[in-house]
């Protein structure tokens, strides 16, 4: 396990360095999208329409924040369970999506798409939304404003802490770590 500082965007080149178990601080632009935004993006693709954000070398954070108090960029902002986006993720990865930030296990189809597209799945610590909000400096709703917390937001993050769960060779920290500590 090593600690790295990465300036976004993630690319084929810089994701090669990321190995399952690495601790990474991200700085730059990421976008939020969760259940309802994914459903809408999927419907747009089915109709042959453009997506509101470009997927190429993009990083999506599966997160719906609590409202910001006056003078603050965002409220509590921790990851949601990634598996609910598994139905839509392979299609977005095939369109160039490079990074996903969430928590929890992914489907085989997503794991295959990560390796196929040399992407990466990162976890932020679930339930640490107050702490994580401190690494978010600026936010702006860029699409689907009517979805409230589920709108697509552009976030400027500084040293946002994540852990590499699935690297682009398909190594999965959840499987490795479990074996290291399982005693039954």
């Amino acid at each position: 396990m090593k600690t790295l500082h990465i300036t976004l965007p993630l690319t084929e080149e810089n994701t090669k360095e990321l190995k399952a178990g690495d601790y990474v601080y991200l700085t730059g632009t990421i976008y939020t999208a969760r259940d309802a935004a994914h459903k809408r993006m999927d419907e747009a693709l089915s109709k042959g329409e453009n997506l509101p954000i470009n997927m190429k070398d993009n990083t999506i954070y599966y997160m719906g924040p609590s409202p910001a108090r006056e003078g603050r960029p965002i409220g509590s902002a921790g990851p949601t369970t990634a598996s609910r986006m598994d139905k839509y993720a392979p299609k977005l990865l095939d369109l160039g999506l490079r990074g996903m930030i969430g928590k929890g296990r992914r489907s085989e189809a997503v794991l295959d798409a990560i390796v196929r597209n040399k992407a990466v799945y990162l976890a932020a610590v679930g339930g640490a939304g107050a702490l994580l909000s401190k690494a978010i400096e600026k936010t702006e709703v860029v699409a689907y404003d009517d979805l409230g917390t589920e709108a697509i937001r552009k976030l400027e993050v500084k040293d946002f802490p994540v852990i590499v769960v699935v690297d682009n060779e398909g190594n999965n920290l959840y499987d490795i770590a479990l074996k290291d500590y399982a005693r039954i």
Binding site: M1, Y23, A36, M63, G64, P65, S66, P67, A68, R69, G75, S76, A77, G78, T80, T81, S83, K103, G104, R105, A123, V125, G126, G127, A128, G129, A130, L131, S133, K134, L147, G148, T149, E150, P161, I163, L173, Y174, I176, A177, L178, K179, D180, Y181, A182, R183, I184
Partner: protein
């Protein structure tokens, strides 16, 4: 008969929604520090430190502990010598939830219909469980429940022949399936006995009992202690990133059941096991 205006209930529910989402009760804080001591994985220990730092920031800066500020589950024990005045109890509780979530900058996570899915924009309605009890007080517990862990909860309708071993297997299966999805270190609420719905309700209620407390029934206390040890041997660890502390507590409630059945409800909660309590 004592009269109590439902406005008092609205006010209390509002305050409890905000309080529960910004500060964990002392039992959970204690469970965090015990967990951190017991955790053997360096990364696991680091995650415990982050969770403690998170609680500190939440409290000092008034940022919710978790962005999923939950669906408001409200337990109300109404003394049979109380006369509630000024409107309906249900409306009063929902008004308290509405004010708490709107005025407290909490996330609105409730949709009006499970299929059409339109956000109600004020986090109502609450899930309300009322019970009539002796006395002239009204006791309210507000337990906002996040769905990362709620989604991993289970009901098993076991056979009587499955016995205590069947119960253990059911709990372990639910926890292992939940794994990293349920934001470990978890708190596990278990209801054994009753009917299909009774075991699920007991499991939910068990989560509001203090972490670290134990049942007064001998075999239940033993089950709580032993299954917690077994869960912590699973290797899942804090954040699901490997470790020796996967759960902080297992709380079990039991109830008489039918000669043909052994229902087991398992309500999984993340480390943000929120519950605020008031007596009016």
């Amino acid at each position: 008969m004592r009269e109590l205006s439902v406005d008092k209930i609205t006010e209390a529910v509002r305050d409890m929604c905000i309080e529960a989402n910004h500060e964990l009760a002392d039992d959970m804080k204690k469970a965090f520090s015990l967990g951190k001591e017991k955790e053997e994985s360096p990364l696991g220990k680091q995650i415990f430190e982050q969770l403690e730092e998170n609680l500190k920031i939440a409290h000092e800066d008034m940022i919710p502990i978790c962005q999923d500020t939950g669906m408001a589950v409200v337990f109300v024990n109404i003394g049979q010598d109380v006369h509630l005045t000024g409107g309906s109890l249900t409306d009063a509780i929902n008004e308290g939830v509405r004010r708490g979530y709107v005025e407290g900058y909490l996330r609105k996570s409730v949709v009006s219909d499970p299929i059409e899915r339109i956000n109600t924009k004020d986090n109502t309605p609450a899930i309300i469980h009322t019970e009539i009890v002796e006395g002239d007080k009204v006791e309210i517990t507000v337990a906002p429940k996040g769905f990362g862990s709620e989604n991993m909860s289970r009901v098993f309708m076991l056979k009587p022949a499955d016995g205590i071993e069947g119960v253990r297997n059911a709990i372990l299966t639910a926890v292992k399936d939940a794994g990293p999805n349920a934001c470990p270190p978890m708190v596990i609420g278990v209801g054994i006995g009753g009917t299909f719905e009774k075991c699920a309700l007991m499991a939910k209620k068990a989560l509001t009992r203090d972490a670290g407390s134990h049942s007064e029934i001998e075999w239940v206390r033993k089950l709580e202690e032993e299954i917690l040890e077994d869960i912590n041997k699973s290797g899942i660890g804090p954040g699901g990133l490997g470790g020796t502390v996967t759960a902080l507590a297992v709380n079990v409630l039991t109830y008489p059941t039918h000669i043909a059945g052994l229902p087991v409800g398992i309500n999984i909660c993340c480390h943000v096991n929120r519950h605020a309590h008031r007596e009016l």
